[in-house]
């Protein structure tokens, strides 16, 4: 699994769905960001987690401090959580069914060539 098909999580809304909700939001709660880290050259950025930051510049720096304290990465991306579009979890079956059962898209489907080199 690479970052291209790692869905960003965090459906954090202004309206809390939580039953414990009700407390007024702090006056200066910074917005939330999703952090993606490239573990090493040649690999994709992978979702590492999220954090709060006042703007993109600070989000990058906070991402570096929070998610790469142990040499975990060589590059960081940040995306405002609110800007992430995600597929509808309740339409999952309709969305992903098509990719199933198409064995002919995979090399293993073709068996006649077994034993033939470089094929």
């Amino acid at each position: 699994m690479t970052s291209e098909n790692t869905p960003a999580q965090a459906p954090v809304g202004q309206q809390s769905e939580s039953a414990t909700g009700g407390a007024p939001a702090g006056r200066h709660q910074w917005p939330m960001w999703e952090v993606f880290v490239r573990p090493s050259r040649g690999l994709s950025h992978v979702h590492a987690g999220s954090l709060h930051a006042p703007d993109a510049q600070m989000a990058l720096r906070n991402g570096r401090d929070l998610y790469t304290r142990r040499n975990e990465g060589v590059s960081v991306w940040v995306v405002p959580t609110a800007e992430v579009s995600a597929s509808d979890p309740d339409r999952r079956d309709a969305f992903f069914e098509s990719a199933k059962g198409k064995e002919y898209r995979h090399a293993t489907y073709y068996t006649k060539s077994e034993g033939v080199k470089h094929l």
Partner: protein, 340 residues
């Protein structure tokens, strides 16, 4: 019907009946699949998770204080660096957990508010004072040790973001316990005064560390539901036993004793028996009568309130920069058209 959704938008779950939704949730849990933030989930499950994850996060954040207390006095520069890295990690772990809890729709400032108003709980062990340097050893070895025992099974918790944050936390915490054990080992093999300091710390933290697993199973009302939901994988007493079995030989290797006269190997059970813990004391500390409850909470409140003007300034700066960028865009537009 659109196929892509803003993750914050209401899902099309309302097309399904309550029973269908519950069935699908139950099936996922039964199949040991993970529940992800956008999935429908029972309100009780959501509430239980928010409570548990935010308490866990609060414990990390409040837990910075007893050790933070010794950063400026650490007796060697190496130990100072280790301690600083460890306390800083705890801030990180708090953030991982707050973030995971936020995926359930409760903003961080709401969780802060619950902590600061005293409505939310955190691990009561942090309401004990860290009196000596040896406490840095005992906290690392016993408190982090108990925490790891608790956390390793949580890596498989049914809620995806919780499990993922636990994987990260467990990886990082492996050094926490070892450095604590090493502090005690060095003290135990140092001067008589140092050894005494180490023994005293172990004496004070042993009982409270065992109590970190929560009340005995027959007095833990929420446990069974959490087990059914696969948030919790083992009972309080099971984990406590596992921990005791682990630390007895570790204490021997330290050359220190555990302050429990009833501690003995039980051949039949294949486990160590241990003595009754002081649960009156435990519930007293939870209710706010611990030695440091007030101080720990006030420290957090002070940090938050003293930081208000800074958070406000950063938010205001971000707003002004956006405004200036927008103004620059409109200012340059006519200039561009003149050139054409």
């Amino acid at each position: 019907m659109t196929t892509t959704h803003d993750p914050r938008a209401a899902s099309s779950a309302d097309e399904l009946t309550a029973e269908q939704l519950q069935e699908r949730f139950d099936a996922l849990i039964a199949a040991d699949q993970r529940i992800e933030p956008t999935d429908w989930m029972p309100e009780d499950y959501r509430r239980t998770l928010v409570r548990q994850m935010s308490q866990h996060a609060h414990s990390e954040i409040i837990g910075m204080q007893p050790e933070g207390n010794w950063i400026t006095r650490a007796p060697s520069l190496k130990r100072k660096a280790i301690l600083m890295a460890k306390v800083q990690d705890e801030a990180g772990h708090g953030l991982y957990l707050y973030s995971a809890a936020e995926t359930l729709g409760t903003p961080r400032d709401e969780m802060f508010e619950q902590l600061m108003s005293g409505r939310a709980k955190y691990s009561s062990i942090f309401n004990y004072p860290a009196r000596s340097w040896a406490d840095m050893g005992a906290i690392g070895w016993l408190v982090d040790g108990a925490a790891i025992c608790n956390q390793v099974p949580l890596c498989r918790a049914s809620y995806g973001p919780y499990g993922r944050s636990m994987v990260r936390i467990c990886k990082e915490e492996s050094f926490h316990q070892r450095q604590g054990w090493e502090i005690l080992y060095t003290l135990s093999h140092g001067t008589p005064k140092q050894k005494q300091m180490a023994q005293d710390a172990v004496n004070r933290f042993y009982g409270p560390a065992l109590q970190m697993f929560g009340p005995p199973d027959d007095q833990s009302p929420n446990s069974q539901q959490s087990m059914d939901w696969k948030i919790k994988r083992f009972s309080n007493d099971e984990l406590r036993q596992r921990f005791v079995d682990m630390i007895v030989p570790q204490a021997e290797a330290l050359g220190l004793t555990l302050p429990d006269p009833d501690l003995a190997w039980n051949e039949e059970r294949g486990h160590y028996d241990y003595g009754e813990l002081d649960w009156d004391e435990f519930f007293g500390v939870i209710k706010g009568h611990g030695p440091c409850n007030q101080q720990r909470l006030q420290h957090r409140i002070d940090a938050h309130e003293n930081g208000e003007w800074v958070r406000e300034a950063a938010a205001e700066y971000a707003r002004k920069m956006q405004e200036r960028a927008a103004r620059a865009d409109t200012d340059t537009a006519p200039a561009g058209s003149e050139q054409r």
